[in-house]
Symmetry: C2
């Protein structure tokens, strides 16, 4: 029966680890990485601070994992939008729109993922994920060149222009100072729902890509 | 004569501080913020490590100042290019080109300023300087709308799209991994001189702005 015991322990450890991740995720979604302290995560999870260090070597390791989990979720949504049918230009536009819409609906987490000044170890994850987005866009641009919905161009460079344009243009609207002005009665930042904002950003991106005035 | 003595001391201190800044600047230009350690700065300046802390409270404070000095220099060059005569669209194009050209000529420093994962205090400076570039571009876009060289649009948002597109598209070409491949015989990273690279980035930016196929 020794094996079963071990399996049970393993499972309990996995559950505790997941619970810490869930609570850390919630903390970051509420106030960004800076306000998400280990003590806050521990108190939310109802465990001692020291217990967290049994599962994660350091605060930075925990937050790097939160960054990966949260960003991978967004990357998957973009990939999903790109995977549809139809000309690549339209799929790319839908993917960019989904990225921006989702960011504005969860502005604190989006700010944390896109622009919040973070520990260099988390920043290194950020650079890698920007490449993940660029890889997806590059593939779509190449498909667009093939199906004639996008003019011939350096798909790699254009994909990074897209990543930069959409991320940087969201930094202002998502930033804590800007959100402060839009907080609702409960003191929670409201989702930013300015449709013209997204339209403007998407227009810039699609014009940059296609050279077709919109 | 007490006043004169004090003045001399003040001047000597100023000189020592400038010397530290110069040496720290040179270290960052050689290997980025990560490789620029206080011991390396001190040894280059021919002083004891402790002496640096008489002038700067911390390593982060010193490097935040280097970041400000180096970035302000680039902001000034962009402002200079924008200040010329002629239609705003052409001046904006020249300014974007100057930004990219200068980055590719000093790739290690440019990588350190644009993308290197750094301490959050330095990262905060980075966010502020991105706003400084966006402010310059916004002004030029408004001038372009007025002189009919740029179509009517949200100048603020478009300016941030420009900042993001040009910075992000340079991250790959400037990154240490990429530079490693182009190191010359002396082991120094060579300036990246791919003109088509800059052309492609500028095309995307100007198309995004004007919707005119190039």
């Amino acid at each position: 029966m020794a094996y079963r015991e071990t399996e049970k322990v393993r499972q309990r450890k996995q559950e505790a680890r997941n619970r810490i991740l869930e609570c850390a995720y919630a903390c970051v979604a509420e106030g960004g990485f800076r306000s998400a302290q280990i003590t806050a995560v521990a108190s939310r999870a109802g465990i001692a601070t020291g217990t967290i260090y049994r599962y994660f070597d350091s605060k930075e390791e925990l937050f790097a994992e939160i960054f990966r989990l949260a960003t991978q979720r967004e990357v998957d949504k973009v990939a999903e939008a790109l995977a549809g049918a139809g000309p690549a230009a339209a799929r790319l536009e839908a993917a960019l729109r989904r990225f921006a819409d989702r960011a504005l609906r969860g502005p604190v987490m989006a700010w944390a993922l896109i622009a919040e000044p973070v520990d260099p170890r988390v920043e290194t994850e950020r650079l890698q994920y920007r490449r993940a987005y660029a890889d997806l866009f590059e593939k779509a641009i190449k498909e667009g060149i093939a199906d004639n919905s996008i003019p011939a161009q350096d798909a790699r460079l254009s994909s990074t222009c897209l990543v930069g344009a959409i991320a940087e243009s969201l930094v202002g609207p998502l930033s804590p100072g800007h959100l402060e002005m839009t907080r609702n009665g409960n003191g929670n930042p409201q989702a930013v729902t300015d449709k013209s904002l997204v339209d403007t950003i998407i227009h810039f991106c699609m014009q940059g890509l296609t050279g077709i005035r919109r």
